[in-house]
Each structure stands twice: as structure tokens, then as C-alpha cells.
């Protein structure tokens, strides 16, 4: 596991890439490597994080342009091989736009950019992303988004519920998301997308450590 390397993708407009790298390297001693969005060689990374930010200025729709980058094109094979991909905030938006996860993320119901700590219920730990909270089914993570309202049709919602693909739900829905959804996984469980920022909850001195285990889960096989 010493050589395990997490690729942190950098798009023009990403702004949480360094936070993710800091949390992984500094708090968890996991090696990281920045991956520029034009690269398509993913052979030397073992897991990938799509960080938050405003890729391509959020032009057209959040995540819509990033979908056509070389890196996202190469991601399909990476995901199919079973390797783990974590999309945080804008990363979650990119994962839905590119079809790795169902649904879409649209403007918050109250139109505000919401920057706050939120209480979240762990609904499913599919993929082992939230195994730490057996004894405590609620965690607190920061959110910071203007377009975080999860939307999907009723058939998709049923599929998410029936297959235990909903990872996190807001206790007090801040943005109008369908079914209070804050994070979902794919069917295999190796892709997680969530609007809250686990990388901003990795040190007690900045408000909590509830994000540590999710980032640490990147090294699970």
C-alpha cells in the first residue's frame, strides 16, 4: 500500500484540488499526484478524486464542458476496472453530466450560494465509503455550492432506493434536493459523488474530522 497513489484531477477552474491533496497527504499519509485534465494516461494512479470548484467556469451547465476532457474520456475504463473514483461538489456534477452517476445537479431552490456545515445521515455504505460510522449514523460535513439541488425522475429515484445507491441524505435539506439526497454511488459502489466536502473536515482545528474516513476509503480494494 506504500505506493498507492491517488490522482487529483485539475481542470481549469478547479479550486479544491490542493485541499484534497493536503487532506490525503498531510492527514492520511496517502500519496497524491495532480492530473491535468488533458492527460489520458491513468496507469500510475490507483484511485481518482474529481475535486470541487468551477471547471471551465461552469459554462453552459456545471460539469458540462469537463465531460469532454481527455481525462474524463479515459475514466470509463478506469471505473470499469473497479478502481475507485470520488467526485466532490463540482466533481459530483461532472460525474452526473458524464453519465457515471444518474440524475443532475441544478440551482439551489432558494438561489443562494450556501456555505455551511450540514448534518448528514448515512443511508448506505455501499463501496465502504462510510464504514466508520457504524456506531454513529450521522456525520457533519461542510457544503459550499450554488448548484447542489439533486434532481432525478421517479424511476431513477426508485432504482436508487431499491439498489441502496443513496449514500448520504441531508438531515435538514438546505437546497431542495429530491429525497434530501446529498451523495450517491454507482451500482458497483466504486464511484461516489457527493456535494459536501470531506476534505474540509479532516482536522479538529478546522471544525471536525468526519471527512477523514471517506477519503481514507479511497485505498480500499
Amino acid at each position: 500500500m506504500d505506493n498507492f497513489t491517488v490522482g487529483v484531477v485539475v481542470f481549469p477552474g478547479s479550486n479544491c484540488d490542493r485541499d484534497v491533496s493536503w487532506a490525503l497527504e498531510g492527514c492520511l499519509d496517502i500519496r497524491t499526484k495532480y492530473l491535468w485534465h488533458e492527460s489520458s494516461d491513468l496507469s500510475d494512479v490507483d484511485a481518482i478524486v474529481l475535486p470541487g470548484g468551477f471547471s471551465y467556469g461552469d459554462y453552459l451547465r456545471c460539469g458540462a464542458i469537463a465531460r469532454f476532457s481527455s481525462l474524463i474520456n479515459a475514466l470509463d475504463e478506469f471505473v470499469k476496472s473497479g478502481k475507485r473514483v470520488l467526485g466532490i461538489c463540482n466533481g459530483f456534477q461532472i460525474l452526473t453530466e458524464s453519465g457515471f452517476l444518474p440524475g443532475a445537479l441544478i440551482a439551489n431552490k432558494n438561489l443562494n450560494f450556501i456555505c455551511d456545515d450540514v448534518e448528514l445521515d448515512i443511508v448506505s455504505s455501499k463501496g465502504g465509503w462510510f464504514n466508520n460510522v457504524d456506531e454513529k449514523q450521522t456525520i457533519k460535513l461542510p457544503i459550499a455550492h450554488g448548484e447542489g439541488r439533486y434532481h432525478c425522475d421517479s424511476d431513477t429515484l426508485k432504482k436508487l432506493v431499491d439498489n441502496e445507491l443513496i449514500a448520504l441524505r441531508y438531515k435538514n435539506n438546505p437546497n431542495g434536493s429530491s429525497f434530501d439526497i446529498a451523495g450517491i454511488t454507482n451500482e458497483k459502489g466504486n464511484v461516489l459523488g457527493l456535494m459536501p466536502h470531506p476534505e474540509r473536515a479532516c482536522d479538529e482545528t478546522i471544525g471536525g474530522t468526519d471527512g477523514l474516513f471517506t477519503l481514507k476509503s479511497l485505498i480500499l480494494k
Partner: protein, 84 residues
């Protein structure tokens, strides 16, 4: 090669709440406009494009709308096309 001017309209699906439209509706009423029943905001994209005839151009525009201009999970699209 023929050249066409295409106007693509992208709209949130009727089932999707449009808070920006609601806020604009509220401002419109404050301005004194009466009788507004609904107000929803979409996008209009103008494209000039070349191709061998209308059918070929429609194929290209369909692909662009379906894959890029609209996210069909939340949006519908339609377009008009004019030969230049």
C-alpha cells in the same frame, strides 16, 4: 456546402422547479405587470453551421443538442433552422 442559421432553445422540463424563473416572476409583479401566470427561464443558442443539405445539418444539431447543449435529465430542447 449550404450554410444554415440555427436557433436552439433549451428549457427546463416542466417537472423541474425553476427558482430563477420564480424570482423573476416575483420581480415582474413588483414592477407592476399584471396577469403573469407562469415565468420560466431558458437558454437560446445561436449556431451558424455548414453542411450538405438540411438533413445533414439536422443530424449534427440533434447530436449537439442531445449530448452538449441540453442535459436531457432536466432539460428539453427544440430548434429552428434557416438556410442562409
Amino acid at each position: 456546402m449550404d450554410q444554415f442559421a440555427v436557433k436552439v432553445f433549451v428549457r427546463l422540463r416542466p417537472s423541474v422547479l425553476d427558482p430563477a424563473g420564480e424570482a423573476t416572476k416575483s420581480a415582474s409583479i413588483k414592477l407592476g405587470a399584471e396577469g403573469i401566470k407562469t415565468l420560466r427561464i431558458g437558454k437560446m443558442i445561436e449556431v451558424k453551421i455548414e453542411g450538405n443539405g438540411e438533413n445533414e445539418v439536422r443530424e449534427k444539431i440533434d447530436l449537439l443538442c442531445d449530448r452538449l447543449f441540453a442535459n436531457t435529465v432536466i432539460e428539453d430542447y427544440e430548434y429552428s433552422l434557416e438556410k442562409l
